[in-house]
Structure formats: structure tokens, C-alpha cells
């Protein structure tokens, strides 16, 4: 994911003030009638240039190097946060080193060109942060104190986009995202791959967030500074063994899914009525829901789809993403088909594998499934529960639960609940609540 540039809001006023000052002090107002542009007219001092000059020393390039060929496999950014060479970067920048330490190592390239090995000290996989340490002491470093910022403030993001050298990008602070599962700050600015892990700062050098992702078109995201502060405060001094880091990642994921799944479906769930069925929708604020008709007018049947998902995901490793929740309802009606052909259509939709969760053989097992006919109040369902386990992390599973409402004389309903990176007990509980939240009211 490309990191985003951060701009500080507060200091937007400052440059304007400076600019005004500079203009007032440096040059007499020219006579209005004869204004000529001459080459030695001084330009306004650029705040961005000043910010860059003041803080470039604190930002490094982080390279993940493949030990066999000694070539860089990936590039990201990081910044100093302490006098003893502590660096903050994204977890996804150094994930390869965590999962394959015999094959990859991390190196930091300082602004003065010095290249030093970087040791992994701690990770926070939920917030996509990592703490690494180099042996050198930086001339200066960023603090991680919480910085109050207002909407629209100017921020500056620094990093190494596309490995083109340390760059600075101006942007706007647009506040924390309200409806996400993973904390993010909305930054409007052009961040590009390679800037991940770099700091987004105010003009005075206060870190507001850490570059983490972009959706293109100046739509970018930062991790809030407080999380990096917590990571730094909670970490030990020494390099942590890769095995311990893997265990830590597993524990962080388990704790996090326990936290956000705890309330899911426990209280009353918002529902929507479609074609006579009352169906669960937007079970929590971190879901985003869409609906549409997916067939054409000339088709002999109509399929209406209602879809809710968490928009973001957890990066675990290059081939493994987790932490996604999805609800998908499909309602099938037909005026033209008799019962037999309607059920052929219904079967086809039910059996179609709409979306397979990705994953490689080393990360997850194959799915194991069980299908049954289940009854609940005035409805009967064919329910298919499929589960697979994470190979490297204890107690974490991906679950795909699919159901179809049975019986003639009502529209077809195919409903799918997908959960990745959850404990089995939570999956069972949520599946039960999900089944209980679907009713037929007509």
C-alpha cells in the first residue's frame, strides 16, 4: 500500500502569515502603473522547502533486502523517534522479514546516504506499525506527542515514493475516518508506493500520522500518531525473535477480533425488508452497505443484491489479507419461470462461488464444509458452513456461511456471511445470531 503524505493543518496559517510578513518587509509596493517583471524579483520563501530542510535528517528509506542476491525486494520509509536509533515504519513494509527471516533482512538508508542494518523490535499488526532499531544515533528525531489538528489543516508528508529519493508532499488533514474497523486519518494528498511508514507532519515538525495507504486520486490514509506512541512505549529494548513476533501477531489479531465481534449481532441488529424477508444490514458502524438490481430488464428473472462490508483489511503478509467481514443478500424473483425452472435458477445462484477468500497454501488450510437443512420459526434453510484455519497462527479461522431459504411460494434468498481472521467460537456465535435475524414477514 502506498503511504500517504501528511500535511499539518495548523501550520497552514503560519506560512500565510510568513508570506504576508515577507512581502511587507522585503519589498516596497511597486507603483501601480508601471509594473514590470524583472529577473531578480525575490520569490516568496517556500514553507515546504523549509519543512523539508529542517526534518529530512529524521526520515529514512527502509529497504527489505533479499539475502541471496543482496538486492532490494521492496522499499518503504520510516522516521526516527528516539535518540538510540528507534525508527517507526509500517508493519507491511517489513512483513517479509517477519515471515521469512532467513530470506530477507531490513536495512535503513539515512538521508546522509549511510546504510545501516535495521533490527525488528516490535510490531502492531492491527494498526500496521512496526518499531525497528538501527545502531546509529540520529542527529534529531520526531516526538510522538498527540497533536490536535483541525479539519483542513496543511500537512506535509515525507517519504521515498517509487524509490525516487526523499520527497515531500503537501496535503490536507481531513479528519479521522468515522466508519472503519481499522483507525485511519483521511489525508488529501498524492501519496505513492514507497512512502509507507513515512511521517505526515505539521510545518513545525509535529507528527500527525504515519503514511499507510492510498486509494488513488489524492485519497490517502494515515495511522494516528498515538498508536505509534503506544507501540514505542510498550516495546522492550532488544530485537525480538521472529518466532516471538509471529506469536505476537497472532495474539494481536485474536484480541482484536474478540473486541470488535463482541457486540456484533448481540443487541438488536438494524434490518431491511426486501421482497418479504426481513434481513440484517449494517450490523455495526464500520460496515458500508450498497444495494442494486444486478439483472437486465430483458432477463426472465430479477436478482436484487444488498451488500455490506468492512471496507478495509488487515495486512498479514504478501499473499495473506485478513480481518474482512461481509454480508451479502441476493433476492431472486421471476414472473416467467414455473417452479421447476425457478429452482434451477435458484440452485445455480446458490451454488455459484461468488467470491473466494484469497490465501496461499502456506498461509491457510483448504476449506472444510458442512451442509444441512435447518429450521427457524416459520422458515427453513439450506445452510452451508465452510471453515479453514490459519496455518501459522493459533486459533484463527476464515468462515464462509451461506444459506438459501427453502420452500415454494416465496422469492429465493441466498445470503452469505464471510468472516476472516476470527476465532471459531465467535464464528459459531455470529452464525447463530445471523440465522436468527432472518425472518419471513409476508
Amino acid at each position: 500500500m502506498p503511504p500517504l503524505p501528511a500535511a499539518t493543518a495548523r501550520h497552514a496559517r503560519f506560512p500565510a502569515f510568513i508570506a504576508v510578513l515577507a512581502l511587507g518587509v522585503g519589498r516596497p509596493a511597486p507603483a501601480p502603473a508601471q509594473q514590470e517583471f524583472t529577473e531578480d524579483e525575490p520569490s516568496l520563501p517556500s514553507v515546504t522547502a523549509t519543512v523539508f530542510r529542517r526534518f529530512a535528517d529524521r526520515v529514512v528509506k527502509i529497504e527489505v533486502v533479499e539475502t541471496g542476491s543482496a538486492g532490494k525486494a521492496s522499499v518503504g520509509s520510516g522516521f526516527f523517534v528516539g535518540p538510540d536509533g528507534e525508527l517507526i515504519t509500517n508493519y507491511h513494509v517489513i512483513a517479509d522479514v517477519v515471515h521469512e527471516p532467513e530470506r530477507y533482512r531490513a536495512e535503513a538508508v539515512q538521508h546522509d546516504g549511510q546504510r545501516v542494518p535495521a533490527a525488528l523490535v516490535a510490531v502492531d499488526v492491527v494498526h500496521d506499525l512496526a518499531l525497528v532499531r538501527v545502531a546509529t544515533s540520529p542527529p534529531s528525531f520526531f516526538g510522538l506527542r498527540e497533536t490536535p489538528v483541525e479539519q483542513g489543516a496543511r500537512l506535509y508528508s515525507m517519504g521515498h515514493p517509487a524509490d525516487l529519493g526523499l520527497s515531500i508532499v503537501e496535503g490536507t488533514y481531513n479528519g479521522p475516518l468515522r466508519h472503519t474497523l481499522y483507525e485511519r486519518i483521511h489525508f488529501t494528498g498524492s501519496l505513492n508506493p514507497g512512502m509507507s511508514g513515512g511521517p505526515a507532519i505539521t510545518a513545525s515538525g509535529r507528527v500527525v500520522g504515519i503514511n499507510v495507504a492510498t486509494a488513488g486520486n489524492q485519497l490517502s490514509f494515515l495511522v494516528p500518531t498515538q498508536r505509534a506512541a503506544e507501540l514505542l512505549a510498550g516495546a522492550g529494548a532488544a530485537e525480538d525473535a521472529p518466532g516471538n513476533l509471529i506469536e505476537t501477531i497472532g495474539r494481536q489479531m485474536r484480541d482484536y477480533q474478540d473486541a470488535y465481534l463482541e457486540a456484533l449481532f448481540e443487541d438488536s441488529v438494524p434490518t431491511v425488508v426486501i421482497d418479504g424477508y426481513r434481513l440484517p444490514t449494517e450490523p455495526a458502524t464500520f460496515f458500508n452497505c450498497w444495494a442494486d438490481v444486478t439483472t437486465f430488464d430483458e432477463d426472465p428473472y430479477t436478482i436484487r443484491e444488498h451488500h455490506c462490508s468492512t471496507d478495509d483489511y488487515l495486512f498479514i503478509s504478501r499473499d495473506h489479507f485478513s480481518g474482512i467481514l461481509e454480508i451479502d443478500h441476493e433476492l431472486i424473483t421471476s414472473d416467467e419461470f414455473g417452479r421447476v425452472r425457478f429452482f434451477s435458477l435458484y440452485s445455480t445462484e446458490f451454488r455459484a462461488s461468488h467470491r473466494a477468500l484469497d490465501g496461499s497454501e502456506t498461509d491457510v488450510t483448504a476449506f472444510r464444509c458442512r451442509a444441512s437443512n435447518v429450521r427457524r420459526l416459520n422458515l427453513k434453510f439450506r445452510a452451508a458452513f465452510c471453515v479453514r484455519r490459519y496455518r501459522r497462527f493459533e486459533g484463527l479461522y476464515d468462515v464462509v456461511f451461506k444459506l438459501a431459504a427453502l420452500g415454494t411460494g416465496r422469492p429465493g434468498l441466498v445470503s452469505t456471511l464471510t468472516m476472516s481472521g476470527v476465532s471459531f467460537e465467535n464464528a459459531q456465535r455470529v452464525v447463530r445470531r445471523y440465522l436468527e435475524s432472518i425472518t419471513w414477514i409476508e
Partner: protein, 302 residues
């Protein structure tokens, strides 16, 4: 064995010439090749009469050979085996092809009835499966396709019959193939309903085995008209071949199951049965049962 000669008086001459007692129509046998004599002791001896290619016993050329029951001697390109009159022979085989019960299957009437049944079953099934708009013309086109397919399949078997039993038996093969087509579509549909009502792996396995039985019966039907095997042996052959194919198929699916996939299993076909008739368990029972899956998937992690 190409022929048998009975020799009643000795000495008896053997050769290609018309004057020989035993005439061998072999270009490499001399006109007067050998002579069968009985010695004073009562042994039968074959003597070379100065032939071009001689007598060969076990590959070596000999001027005379003492014959005991079962002895083989080669003259030219013909091998002769000596046997006494009391040598036992197997009883006659039953000609399965002349079984009168097969005559109904051979008739034109059964072929027409079976063909219509097969086409009807296919067309009904195809219409039921279609989820696009179809016209009568589409269905007629499909029926013609199936008819052509049956005709070609029956034609291949008819050729096999011609080679094996010197009769085409084309109509009989059409009847067999059409009946098999009708049965398989009816059986598949019934099987789907059963699996829909009871979605257990054991039920799916039973339906699959039924399908295998159908395959064996179909092969049995064709073998009845393409061989002279008795019903017993037809059954044995049909079953062995079908089971053999099944084992190969099973080994291949085993290999595929071991391989990794990101896809979930088929959740099963849905059938238009009124909800009241569908056996179903409670949500509690279902959710509790899911714990077995956890054990299964945990077992995949070594």
C-alpha cells in the same frame, strides 16, 4: 487349432500331395513329407520321408519322432499335436446370443418405444434445467442431437457385434442405449431430490453407487448383443469393467482432494419441495454440530 485329422489305419502318410492320408495345405510341407507307423511294441512313430524342411521337435530337426499324447511336431509351418481317442474335450458352450428372452429387445417396437422414452426424458430434463428463455425449436433441436448421439453410439456397438458375432443387432443396441438414457435422467432427478431432502455424504455416496450400477447394467445390455457370453459371464464382465473405471475415477478424485484450493464445497442442489416436507434440524443442533468441523480443520494443520 485349425483342424483335426483322425487316423484309423497305419502306416498313414502326411503331406501336401492329394495321395496323402492326411493332407496339409501348407506351401512349406513337401508333397510326401512324413509317415505315421506303429512299432511292434505298440508305439506311434512319425518318420521323415526325405522332406525339404524336415520334422522339428522343440526346434531341433529330427529324422523320426516318437509320439506320446500331447507331443507336438512341426512340419513346414504347420504344428501337429498327437492325441488318443480318449482325450477329454470340454462340453459345448451355451450361445447367450440365441437366448429367446433377448428377442423382445431386438424388435422394432422396443427400439421405437425406448427411443421415445429416452428423448422425452432428456427433453424434460433439459427444459427443467434451462434458466434462459427457450423455444420449442430449441428443444426439438436438442432432441435431434440426442437421437443422433444414440444412433452413433449404437452404430459403434453394431460394428463391434458384426465383428464378434457376425450380426449387426443395430436395433437392439438402439434400444439398450435409449433405455439407458431414459433411466439415467429419471434416476439423476430422483437422486437430486433425495440428496436435497437429506444432505448427508452417505446419501450422496449411495446415489453415486446407484449410478455405477446403472453403468454396469448399460454395459451388460450391449454385451448381450455383441458377444455369445452367457448371462453369468456378461454380468461378470460388465461389473468388472464398471468397477475398474470407478476405481480409476476414485483414485483421481482422491488426488484432487489432497490438493489445495481457495474454493468452498458445493452447498447442494435446491429442489421445489414445500417447506413442510423438508426434514430440518434446529439452529441449536446445527451450530453445536459445527464443532466437528473445527476438529477436522485443526487436523489439517500439522
Amino acid at each position: 487349432m485349425r483342424d483335426r485329422f483322425r487316423v484309423t489305419s497305419f502306416p498313414a502318410t502326411i503331406g501336401r500331395g492329394y495321395a496323402s492320408d492326411v493332407i496339409l495345405d501348407d506351401a512349406y510341407v513337401s508333397p510326401q513329407h512324413a509317415r505315421l507307423v506303429i512299432t511292434p511294441e505298440g508305439n506311434v512313430v512319425l518318420e521323415d520321408l526325405g522332406s525339404t524342411n524336415g520334422l522339428r521337435v522343440a526346434g531341433s530337426r529330427v529324422p523320426r519322432a516318437a509320439l506320446h499324447p500331447g507331443a507336438q511336431v512341426r512340419l513346414g509351418h504347420t504344428t501337429l499335436r498327437f492325441a488318443t481317442p480318449d482325450t477329454p474335450v470340454a462340453p459345448a458352450l451355451h450361445d447367450g446370443l440365441t437366448d429367446p428372452r433377448l428377442n423382445t429387445v431386438r424388435s422394432k417396437r422396443s427400439a421405437v418405444v425406448a427411443l421415445l422414452a429416452g428423448l422425452a426424458a432428456f427433453v424434460l430434463w433439459s427444459w427443467g434445467e434451462s434458466i434462459e428463455r427457450i423455444t420449442a425449436a430449441d428443444l426439438v433441436g436438442e432432441a435431434i442431437g440426442v437421437m443422433a448421439g444414440i444412433a452413433m453410439w449404437a452404430g459403434v456397438w453394431a460394428l463391434a457385434s458384426r465383428l464378434a458375432v457376425h450380426r449387426f443387432e443395430f436395433l437392439a443396441h438402439v434400444t439398450v442405449a435409449s433405455t439407458a438414457v431414459a433411466v439415467i435422467f429419471v434416476y439423476t432427478e430422483l437422486g437430486s431430490y433425495v440428496q436435497f431432502l437429506i444432505p448427508a455424504p452417505a446419501v450422496a455416496a449411495a446415489v453415486a453407487i446407484g449410478g455405477v450400477a446403472w453403468g454396469a447394467a448399460w454395459l451388460y445390455g450391449h454385451l448381450s448383443f455383441a458377444s455369445r457370453l452367457t448371462p453369468h459371464r456378461r454380468f461378470a464382465w460388465a461389473t468388472s469393467i464398471t468397477v475398474g473405471l470407478l476405481v480409476v475415477g476414485w483414485v483421481l478424485t482422491l488426488a484432487e482432494q489432497e490438493s489445495f484450493s481457495v474454493f468452498t464445497d458445493d452447498p447442494g442442489v435446491l429442489k421445489p419441495v414445500p417447506a413442510g416436507l423438508v426434514p430440518a434440524r434446529s439452529v441449536d443442533d446445527y451450530v453445536a454440530e459445527l464443532a466437528e468441523l473445527k476438529a477436522e480443520v485443526d487436523g489439517l494443520v500439522d
